[in-house]
Symmetry: D2
């Protein structure tokens, strides 16, 4: 699970979100700009089954305001992602496959590396490795495949490098080592994300072309995986699978107090006290009360195992369709069982 | 995971806790009695490695105040339960084994049934099934064991019946069916619990002789597993492995506001508003804000898989030692690998 | 995994098979009757995707010859069961659903119990529990379902009782206890089988209406699960997932020697020696050479995990379609994810 | 699982074994030398709990005779490896740790890489990944550890790269990429092996300093992991967890026919036919009879899951003790839970 780098981000991003749509909400709130942020272009598309938001950060100023690198962020939101609705999921697979293809130019023959980031021992962090286990891997078959099949699949390799606590090695180092040996033309990296709002958990999928920074890490030595560090384009695919406990408390309290304020006399001493608190201070107060294990606590739904399995299936199908010339909507679930 | 029955409990227990020590805190708070509750006797024992609290509810009045059935509740608290400290865990296994034996008289020959309640697909709810997988099961071997070994083990059977959502059958029905056929002299039931405070997660083990009510269940038709319903004594063993998200927000907010109150003028309108809110109302407000999936959200630590494995190991060792005449502290981990 | 009871079966069935089609081959061989066995009616149906054999044992004589109880045995054979061929599997699901319905009369409203026999810790024996995890379980929802949905599903409960080595309780006892409490109108029991030939592994599915005898068991106290013992009809569904090692050696040796015999002079002393060996003796010789762990050794394909998952999916889909009035071929994989 | 390269090995090694002690048996048989092979030195050590064989291949001639690279092969055999005997396993851990240290000089500070080869989805092939999950990994902690602890542990990294069928990348490529980036001073690689005899399954552990060739692979492009290819010493640790089905049939048939020959007139035509068959031909005949899936079939014991878990625990403990200066026999199971 990666998370916004709190050290380097502007102060108001102290509360973690990996989602561009949440970063935008926060930035708008901070900038008291309801509609527009400079350097940030937003397009939305509504559909009975899902809601699509394309955020493009196209200037340094926009990047600073958003606390995120310049580039494209496409978020698909759908309550039905949490449910077992095969028909709706087919539509989502189709739109995801199209959007994956829109984020990078790639010919039909070069090798693509798919990397599943995260810890397979922690259910909500196992999304990446689960996607990887459902990718149609073909790089090792290229010489033995009959020609008619060879044209329908490109060479694809897929790895789940594990997290630093398991391997003792930064994820980025392993990925970089493999990229250097394989020389793929594209890296697709899948990771579980942290959201701010519990209602976003497992209800959104974010695609971006701005790279990914695997592993939270205390020391912050994390190696960014992006075009600059790897020399190849990187498509990151993420799903918010948890909210950290302190963030949940903070946001819920803000909202509940907001509602209560409306019912009581404004300007009371308490209201002032609360208003005068910096977000950072308030978050720290909550974290202190939650105790030393807080950083370690997250909020997740009971049925997280089943939902992460389904999400991994949706994402793996959309990747398989996006990258293999001959894999189509008719092949859904053929390689992801 | 079971939880206090909110329908039948007095109003002030609306926020769920399965732990007698937390129920006592709440009851004392409500009754504004710092030291004593009528009908409730408390003994504590401090130790460098753990803290032991024996709560005995010995009257109807005490049961009403506590919102729990009459009987004995023994809670062992230890921060080190969360850590990989083999030496400390050995001490805990020893004291748990002694306390299990203190909760029921049993001869050395009759059969004991161990039941692991909970859902094996949900990590923090898998404690019971994991304990069961480590129990030294012997009932089927009684006729084939050599005599010298036969004297060291009693007949023990063990089942993990699964939860109603998986089987379509109330857990209590399955257990009752098995008890009727096997006629054991004692049921030991293990279940994951819900706590109120995040710092209690995976840091306490509760033993009781008052029975257990498996499965939360909306319809509340749950069958109580106790001496009355089964005709045999029941020892329940539970560990709080989660806090539900709304409870966490509620309690943290209470504490943070409490601290903030001290710093601002008392008697403000806001303070009054807050004071005047019934706990039930406030909980409902939070639940509404958290949205329709709230009931489904829980807070749990990242390393929950490893911690639940370790807790299952500790509990299984203590049960094996408590119930088999010839299994001793020298046999720790021999049957629980 | 169950297996033919070697103690009570006629001598020539000493080498284990759970498949009626293999029992028939053996019986024909023994009786030197190529086409017909008294009391045994056979119908076959060939299809590009599968081969269907309906064996009906309709007399005591037939039962003795076959070493199996009177009744119907339907076996579907398909090499493609081992492969990931969604289209072919759909056809198989359809024909299985029809044949399940042909084996028992059941109205649309009474409760059905599905039982997954076998040990979930041993991959090739985990078929039953895996099927159960994919059954659409509805018994607990009957009161809360909206009427229009209620009519499309019947009450279904499903359990995986575990094996005697895990629970200390005979599987039959647990099933019987549950049947007594639930009073279902039908039991469907799924189990992994042992085959004689390695090429049948994971390539056949057998349905029968003659009951099932879970667990091999040294003591042979096994409780038969059938109409007689339970008072309700029983449909057994099984897949051969292993061959025991000694059987594999025995059969392969028979065949290789057979071929070698053809090339050398008949009537040699060696040939006579071999001919004079009883099957039982030969099997014992092999078992002795394989050593004390032989009984414990089985032959299984490398990809057994994936194949058992797929088989469980096929069987669960066919059961869901067979028993729920409103579940159709359009709902394939909807409940089995 | 790796296996002797059948293409390049001398003809008489056509039947696969990864164990030096089995290669020696075969070579002696072939050379009709009961005691001694040129260029091969053998030392044995008997002990109530285990049997230790040290095979040193010290000349090119010895290497050719054995079909294995020059170097040291230490094999520990113990029936109790299959059982849950904690006391005996402690002794084995001790002797393994000493022998691991004897196979490579290493200072106390340089980094060691541990690699778990094999496929985690196939139980008997999951030994390597399971060992890795129990290694005390410290490389990422070196800067944050307090000095007194830092001296007790060396930097250790650990990876389970997966097999080519999963990743599309040769295991050797991934390992080589990581070795190049990390520059460790030693590689310890753990893999499951194939044995010839079913009674050796899970009953032997082989250590060697001659490198390892991960993945069987038809194409035989496999990259050897050894001092030559990696530039650092390599310790290979392996356990035979399977016998391939055709090998089992072949060897058992040889032995059963051997016994039968003794009882019948020697020199019969049949005996001659059999004698005249090349091993290679006979193996092929068996493989043909077993059918197209034979290469895919293996023989393994029922309780393989539990045994592989125990073996992984023994090996991981012995590695942790061998490589970390401050980890001793008192820390057994402390890091391997």
């Amino acid at each position: 699970m990666y998370q916004t780098d709190r050290k380097n981000a502007p102060n108001y991003f102290s509360i973690r979100t990996d989602l561009a749509i949440e970063a935008r909400e926060l930035a708008q709130q901070e900038a008291r700009q309801a509609d527009h942020l400079e350097g940030v272009a937003v397009k939305t598309e509504e559909n009975p089954d899902y809601f699509l938001t394309h955020v493009e950060i196209h200037s340094e100023k926009g990047s600073r305001l958003m606390g995120k690198p310049m580039g494209n962020y496409i978020t698909l939101e759908a309550e039905k992602l949490k449910e077992n609705d095969a028909e709706c999921h087919e539509k989502i697979i189709k739109v995801l496959a199209e959007n994956i293809r829109s984020l990078a130019q790639f010919d039909e023959e070069s090798c693509i590396l798919v990397a599943g980031l995260g810890n397979w021992n922690i259910t909500p962090d196992a999304l990446g490795p689960k996607v990887v286990s459902k990718i149609l891997v073909t790089r090792h078959l290229q010489e033995t495949l009959p020609e008619e099949i060879e044209e329908t699949v490109r060479p694809v390799a897929a790895v789940s490098p594990g997290v630093m606590g398991i391997t003792g090695i930064e994820t980025g180092e392993i990925i970089k080592g493999i990229v250097e040996r394989l020389q793929p033309s594209l890296l697709i990296a899948i990771d579980a994300l942290a959201a701010r709002r519990s209602n976003r958990i497992n209800a959104a999928i974010q695609l971006s072309d701005t790279g990914i920074s695997p592993g939270a890490g205390v020391g912050n030595k994390r190696m960014m995986l992006d075009q600059e560090s790897l020399g190849i384009p990187v498509i990151a695919i993420g799903v918010p699978t948890v909210v950290d406990a302190a963030t949940l408390v903070n946001d819920t309290m803000d909202r509940i107090l907001g509602e209560m304020m409306q019912q009581t006399e404004k300007g009371s001493a308490f209201f002032q006290t609360l208003q005068s608190l910096e977000q950072e201070e308030k978050y720290q107060m909550i974290a202190d009360i939650l105790g030393p294990y807080t950083g370690n606590m997250f909020v997740t739904p009971k049925e997280v195992d089943a939902v992460v399995d389904r999400l991994a299936n949706i994402i793996a199908n959309s990747i398989n369709i996006a990258i293999h010339p001959g894999v189509t909507m008719d092949d859904i679930n053929k390689y992801t069982f």
